[in-house]
């Protein structure tokens, strides 16, 4: 029973990690842009309305690039 319990705990742990990260490069790009955006954009001397849309634009580019990268990885 303890073997079965540790197998369940291990599966839950693996699935919880996979909930957020199934492609390290994709997740890393999101985190890197968020760090850069939160630290750099408010200090870049931009008009106050611009940092928000730029934060979004970076994420949108990462999404599209991530989808194309996944296509390449699958041979398309």
């Amino acid at each position: 029973m303890s073997g079965r319990l540790s197998a369940i705990l291990h599966a839950v742990q693996v699935e919880t990690w996979a909930l957020f990260v199934d492609d390290g490069v994709f997740a890393g790009a999101i985190l890197a842009w968020l760090v850069l955006g939160l630290i750099g954009l408010p200090r870049a001397g931009l008009p106050p309305w611009l940092p928000g849309p730029l934060l979004f634009a970076g994420l949108a580019v990462i999404l599209v690039a991530g989808a194309l990268r996944a296509c390449r990885k699958r041979g398309f």
Binding site: I8, G37, G52, C71, F76
Partner: protein, 249 residues
């Protein structure tokens, strides 16, 4: 709390929970049919109770942390989850990866549980299989409820209500159909939920980081629309890649 936040929070929690509960229901139905209902229901019920305690513990815990830190932390996690869902849904829509098939999962689960007579009373294999799948799918629901509900004041109730409504609907479908719910357009649901999670995640991260959103709360629907367009562009580009590959010698 206002409807701009509460409405999409309830909707996102409902749709995301629906997807996860349907997946859990498929396996629990297979377990019940193959190994007996006592073990299947006890395992699933035990895991549900544990998950409920997790929500009850995590929700109030978040109120003790400064709101800006909670918004950044939960916003980042929402973005990691939402972008992953959205990219996967786009790849499935384009035909790059296959669609999720509940009937195949049901047949696979039944085959893996066949062999050996079920024990009298609560079957150990039935209990552990039902417990495991409910925990795995339920953890996602707990995260979404806590993340959507914890990042704004008064949003935990709409998020919990959305998840509870999905839970009741899936239980009802399970009792009525006694078969996997394969007619739900899962990929479209994941697409919609991914868009909502990304919109909220970006909004919370910006708010927590002191970025002023043009139009205030009204920028939230604009963010969701922006992510929808980016995802549709991903589908289009992926389809072009697929088409180019199909006509290549």
């Amino acid at each position: 709390m206002n409807f701009v936040h509460a409405g999409p929070t309830l909707l996102a929690a409902f749709l995301a929970s629906l997807v996860e509960f349907v997946e859990a229901l498929t396996v629990v139905l297979a377990v019940g049919a193959m190994r007996g209902w006592a073990g299947a229901l006890a395992g699933s019920g035990g895991a549900s109770l544990l998950l409920l305690l997790l929500v009850a513990g995590l929700g109030p815990l978040l109120t003790a942390i400064p709101l800006a830190i909670v918004q950044i932390f939960l916003g980042v996690l929402l973005l990691l989850l939402g972008m992953r869902w959205l990219r996967k849904a786009a790849l499935r829509s384009a035909g790059i990866i296959p669609l999720h098939d509940e009937e195949a999962l049901y047949a696979e689960s039944r085959a893996s549980l066949a062999g050996g007579a079920a024990a009298r009373g609560i079957d150990g294999l039935a209990f552990s299989t039902a417990f495991k799948i409910t925990m795995i799918e339920g953890i996602e629901v707990v995260f979404i409820v806590v993340a959507m509900g914890g990042a704004g004041p008064g949003l935990l109730w709409p998020a919990a209500a959305g998840a509870a409504a999905a839970f009741l609907l899936v239980i009802l479908l399970g009792i009525l159909l006694r078969r996997p719910v394969s007619t739900i357009p899962e990929n479209i649901l994941k697409f919609v939920v991914g868009v909502l999670l990304c919109g909220f995640g970006t909004f919370w991260v910006g708010e927590g980081g002191g970025i002023a959103w043009p139009g205030g709360d009204l920028s939230l629907p604009a963010l969701c629309l922006g992510f929808l367009l980016a995802a549709l562009l991903s589908v289009r580009l992926a389809e072009q890649r697929l088409g180019r590959r199909r006509i290549a010698p």
